[in-house]
């Protein structure tokens, strides 16, 4: 049945899970960088989630979510066999992948999942992939085994130093770029402050740097402009012009402000949801 959850893998209990969903038409068309919009109930909102992997033969896509607000919390109550009410995709422009040598893929937190699809695309295109991933702690590092299969090396940073470099991915990235002048592109997916820091780190190296932006969206098909971002001083829509943009031209501060636009309402929704779950 279409939109049925075939597999649920709990990556971080109560926080991050991976769903394998039967959606053959999306699986057939999805490319790295694409996302999907889902809605879970008749009164639900539409939220965008990056497609972390696809399997056209089995007609499945993989999404990974972090429980943040009501909709992701509700999604977390879904189990194998449940059906997603509305699932629309693939959306957004796919990552521009060409054979170009070495690509460094940077992922932070849940962003590692989205980055995985881009890294895999680069690997399949014949590029050498270096993955740089970071999280607060060792247990929160996602997709490490998957990335090891397609990367020449996986460099790690954790806030608490439980594995890899103690500190930020940007420090690892900077050191790597200093020692490897052959890198032709850096792609970063993660929290906005991380992507902003990546842009700052790569600027002196004159290396093409792309980031995947996670603006607030309503329709996801270019109709509403909720997701608009300033790129090089111009208004661009993350849903149809992106979600990937040249990091050096993105106004990250504006993006952070806009991501908080509905914070009060989001917190109220979450509170009400917790109450209803408890009762």
């Amino acid at each position: 049945m279409i939109n049925k959850i075939l597999k649920k893998r709990i990556l971080i209990p109560g926080r991050v899970s991976e769903l394998t969903i039967y959606a053959p038409h999306i699986a057939e068309k999805a490319r790295p960088g694409n996302f999907a919009v889902l809605r879970l109930s008749e009164k639900g909102e539409r939220i965008p989630l990056t497609i972390a992997d696809r399997d056209p033969e089995n007609g499945t896509i993989v999404i990974v979510y972090l429980v943040l607000g009501k909709t992701s919390a509700l999604l977390d109550t879904h189990v194998e066999g449940d059906v997603i009410l509305d699932l629309c995709g693939p959306l957004g422009k796919p990552t521009e992948i060409k054979k170009q040598g070495e690509v460094v893929c940077v992922g932070g937190g849940t962003g590692i999942a989205a980055m995985h699809h881009i890294a895999k695309g680069n690997f399949e295109a014949g590029n050498e992939v270096t993955s740089v991933i970071g999280a607060r702690s060792k247990d929160l590092l996602l997709f490490k085994p998957e990335l090891e299969k397609i990367s020449s090396r996986v460099l790690i940073a954790t806030d608490d130093g439980t594995v890899g470099h103690k500190g930020f991915v940007t420090e690892v990235l900077q050191k790597y770029l200093q020692n490897n002048s052959s890198v032709s592109e850096v792609v970063a997916v993660g929290p906005v402050p991380m992507m902003k820091a990546v842009a700052k780190v790569t600027a002196p190296f004159d290396v093409r740097t792309m980031v995947s932006l996670n603006s607030i969206m309503v329709d996801g098909i270019g109709m509403c402009g909720a997701c608009r971002v300033s790129v090089g001083g111009e208004i661009r829509f993350a849903c149809v012009d992106g979600p990937e943009f040249d990091a050096s031209r993105v106004d990250f501060d504006e993006l952070m402000t806009r991501l908080c636009a509905f914070r009060d309402q989001e917190m109220l929704s979450m509170e009400l949801f917790k109450k209803s779950e408890a009762s």
Binding site: H25, K43, E45, C88, C224, A226, A261, F262
Partner: protein, 473 residues
Amino acid sequence: MTTKRKAKIKPRIGMPLLDPLKRARIFSEVSLGYRAEDAVLEAKRCLQCKKPTCRKGCPVEVDCKSFIRMVAEENFREAFRVIKDTNSLPAICGRVCPQENQCEGTCKLRPTGQPIAIGRLERFVADNFYARTSCEEETGFMECLLPDENLKVAAFGSGPSSLTLAGFLAARGVKVTIFEALHEPGGVLVYGIPEFRLPKSVVKREVDSLKHLGVDFKCNFVGGMSVTVDDLFADGYKAVFIGVGAGLPKFMKLDGENLVGVYSANEYLTRVNLMHAYRFPEYDTPVPKGDKVVVIGGGNVAMDAARTAYRLGASSVRVIYRRTKGEMPARREELEHALDEGIELEILASPLSFAGDANGKLQKVTLQRMELGLPDASGRRRPVPVDGQTFELETDMAVMAVGTGANKVLTQTTPKLKLNNRGYIEVDPATGETSMPMVFAGGDIVTGAATVVQAMGAGRLAAKEILGRLKKS
């Protein structure tokens, strides 16, 4: 027409309305609709002209004279059939068409200022028709036409053009599948036009009646992304219609336009209409609650946004328009309804910039005072800035209703489609066919933002052409 004859003309029967004081803060439909006795009286005013001009004013060529005569004879069922013969969506057209520029604009009684209220009659006839499931009522045939599975036609988008095309073809035995990107069919009728002007139940009824005719609706399928034109032909579809609308909202490239508190009308209305955000937190989608709201623009969308903001509790709503009231593109009726409800106008003004607080939240808008200069290409006098005259308004929410452009999602993934320099699809005006054989297009993605009924006219044109070709082959 002489004064003497004019004196004989009885005035139009008024449309019962919800009282402005009662309605201005709620989402119930404002126009209540004729009762049967109103409709009959109004229909009896019709002169039943030998050479009627009303039909020519209608983009989908409704036989107004005949259906009005049937209403006068209280044969509402037959009246419905006459309308439905050319118009798949009468309950919608009766509500949102600018009849004053169409059928009523060409009515012989127009010069008296009291043309027949054709739109109100059309709405009455449609609303009174409830035997929705019977194929005979829908199609005029005694039995349901089983769609011919070999005659498959697909449409992208489920707005007025595609719905009209589907109604026309399905009633003639063609299997139509509509691919809609959003989770609900109806296009602009569900995400754009508010409940108080066009109740969603009315749209649902029209969609359901198409389902009874065998039309398939596939929601969550994005044309060009989830499914392409080439996929459809490979799947055995004989023709494809593109009716995806012009949903890309325009902004004005002003300082502060991305502050929190500045929204496109599309975003604001989509949240409220499609996502039911006016019932947050019962519904999950949040909506900004502005207190001092400004709406930039003077069209129907600006009126819809302004009236919505007032219904969501704003203490003041000001519509900012660069020309004067007389040049506003909004329908007179909508403008009057808005003014009756308490919406204010700030004419001859155009925004220069927005400013916000330290948290990036909108606080004020700076406006340029305008005056009317010489007429431009559209014949309207061009607004020009008055040197040195700017002023500020405090505001915590601004809605940009300054038009839409071509949405590129489908067109950029369908490179064989020929577009004009504004990104709209080029079609043969006689058939609606695009540069790709057996691919047709109509509605706003061809013309740019226009009216519901113009889109319906385009759907009807393409449907006729498609049917002709399918029957030939």
